[in-house]
Amino acid sequence: MIAPHGGRLVERTAPGEQRERLAKEAPRLPQVPLSQRELADLEMIGCGAMSPLEGFLGEADYRSVVDSMRLANGLPWSIPVVLSAKDEAQGRLGAGDRVALVDDQARTLAVMDITERYQVDHDYEAQMVLRTADEAHPGVQYLRSISNTYLGGPVHLIRRVEHRDFLRYRLEPKETRVLFAARGWSRVAAFQTRNPIHRAHEYLQKCALELADGLLIHPLVGETKADDIPAQVRMRCYEELIAAYYPRDRVVLSVFPAAMRYAGPREAIFHALIRKNYGCTHFIVGRDHAGVGRYYGSYDAHAIFGEFSPEEIGITPLFFDHAFYCARCGNMATAKTCPHGEEDHVVFSGTRVREMLAAGELPPPEFTRPEVARILVEAARR
């Protein structure tokens, strides 16, 4: 089994007696309400998905991650995982203070021991992490919405983050690791997505599965921008597709609780490292991974892996070019495997697909499986 990032799977859920003690103490502590992104991060830190992180980043780690895509100890880590102060009083908290991290219902989920408070420059963070400070970028908009005072320190979870959806698909890293071992899989390819699945995605997944023992389809169900297809719709597509076209004993469908950062190449590294923690050995990186608009080159998310040695990343990226159906080849292909021109390729832009779906028109089966297209058309009508 592949080792977690940093060598051990972090577990930040407080054990029995400590949990009871912290739960009693929590009502007397200052409360820090979490944003949707911070809530997802907390959940993932708690279960080890973000190993080796044990809490929200302190200043040395933050600056190192922003500047060099590494934690202060040199371990690759490409995205700042941070907690912002929510008001002036929280902006005065500092080392030695203990706070309760609460959800939108004021339920205490965790206690955090603050080790430091620090100020950041959001323009700089945006330029370094998102490669832009353009206000139209959703990641920049998020940074503009939060305080530039961050609080760092380890967390102790005393209560699970409550979910009402996808309950049967929520697996923690320790669970996927046991599952893969039980199925006898030593090579597991992970597929991250926030989009509905078309034939091109299916092609990448099945190419990866030809090389691996098993496939983890791991759709992101945390916060996304408003015009992304809702996770409920995407999951229905996956269920239909797997039932009709995938070997059930070689595929695991489970949800990935993270929020989208839209950080393109840096998020590709982040997504890969986290899937290593889930026990995956390979990670599919397609065209414009975690991208948005025209902020990133189509294959920037491939190139960024070259900034690290394969040993320090640990999980093996599987790079794929843009895939399409070629009418002359009579199969799915990419520019690497098909010699024919664009006139033979069945390709639609995202905008064109949205127009078709809104008009109740099914995309051709060479582009989208009919089972998936019907779900998308139905969703577009609502």
Binding site: M1, P4, G16, R168, L171, V178, L179, A181, V252
Partner: protein, 84 residues
């Protein structure tokens, strides 16, 4: 006199351990400590060479550092969800 294989016997464990196990099974689907202990012990006994008794060996291989009880709880959840 030989007894039937389905007949239960009593195992004695320290009360603090019992209380700890009772806390551990909250929310896992196990209805009692007896049911949990039976599951864990059966799982351990079914493995060749008693692998489940050696969590350190699993850790050395980079596998999940779970105790046998934790491992049993994870497997039970995976079964209930239809993954195993």
């Amino acid at each position: 006199m030989p007894r039937g294989s389905s007949e239960a016997v009593t195992l004695k464990i320290p009360r603090p351990l019992y209380e700890r196990l009772r806390q551990m099974i909250e929310g896992t689907g196990f209805r009692s400590v007896t049911e949990f202990a039976t599951y864990v012990l059966r799982d351990l006994a079914s493995r060749p060479g008693g692998q489940g008794a050696r969590p350190r060996a699993r850790r050395e291989r980079g596998e999940a550092p779970l105790t046998p009880a934790e491992l049993a709880a994870v497997r039970e959840r995976l079964r209930r969800l239809g993954y195993l």
